[in-house]
Symmetry: C2
Subunit: 238 residues, 2 copies
Amino acid sequence: MKKHILEVCFSPIMFPLYEKPDAVVVVVDILRATSSIITAFQNGVERLIPVRTIDEAKNYKDKGFLIAAERDGKVLDFADFGNSPDNFTPEKVKGHTIVYSTTNGTQAIQQAGHCAQVVIGGFLNISALEKHLINMDRDVIILCAAWKDRFSLEDSVFAGFLADRLLESGKFETICDSAKAARDLWIMARPDLLNYIDKVAQRTRLRELGLDNAIEYCHSIDITDVIPVLENGSLRKI
Amino acid sequence: MKKHILEVCFSPIMFPLYEKPDAVVVVVDILRATSSIITAFQNGVERLIPVRTIDEAKNYKDKGFLIAAERDGKVLDFADFGNSPDNFTPEKVKGHTIVYSTTNGTQAIQQAGHCAQVVIGGFLNISALEKHLINMDRDVIILCAAWKDRFSLEDSVFAGFLADRLLESGKFETICDSAKAARDLWIMARPDLLNYIDKVAQRTRLRELGLDNAIEYCHSIDITDVIPVLENGSLRKI
């Protein structure tokens, strides 16, 4: 059987070089957007509407929607939630539609919207994701949300973890240097993931804001088998 | 003493995010542009004029200049040299001015032209380069020429090698995730560099063209202390 092609894109700014209409795109923003999105669906959110700009989020607020919105790690004043996964408790989210706008993650989700499918990935759902991607029987692009288009180590380490799983399955192959580099970064990180991640720039940013309590949680493997998927501009559970 | 900031930029498409007018930029295209440029100066070339387009190179040809030009690893029909370092022998280059245009390397050189200084780096001149960068007493950006704006493993491994040297000197610091990732890739590659590099996409491309004979040479450490530098749009020896 012909193997599908696996690629890793380290930054949204490079995505036009990788984009293929027939591929499944996995969007990754470990600290913290995609970890929070997975958690929200695990806790029963009905629908998440990712929006790019603060003005779009404000318009939804005026229409009565719940809003999760941050920029540079800080909750926006008009928002009901920030971007920390522990905001999205069952009490607050179950059955609701939430409009969601973050510095990096939601931008990447919208950018991939022209591809065959966009799913949301993280350590939290990796095994379910792996199974889903194998079942989809298509090429896969792992898109790191990065930090304002700059390379992000925690997203890339996760991309390497998922790449490793998919390549080991025997269903995928790659000639992509970034997939190989990501896999090697995962191999370096694997023996002590949290210690490795301690050096990432985003950890420093979150610590300065007193928001680094979510780091251990965001690197927990397989807490759920929920996979958020983009459908007509909104995220829903598969 | 305040340390200078070191950053690694994995692709020319990301360079606007890193660009600082006061920084020294090290352009890296291990396979093969910067390795060839270093070799040309080692062998006595007087001046190299990097040009972006094939048309520019043709115009120079009409004016009687020697031309080195390739696209996708293939020598262009009107060119006097390709992009293999063994083209630039003392007999052919000594005392000459050569116009130079390649798929990735020359583009990156021109893109960095607004910064304080642009120097050409590779395994071939790393120790001289390290000394020069410490003496320059400025922030440093290592710019990987990459492959058509995609991440390139061999350029990134070299960036990590140079980053490791500069950070170990105690004169530089970084909070840049790509510098940390590059350094870790170098640490993985270091015990058996050529074996590690065997997996890079560019090796496959060169092998298919019968051009992979230069790979071992391009990964040789410290064959020269020549440092090419950009001055008024041309490369000269420092």
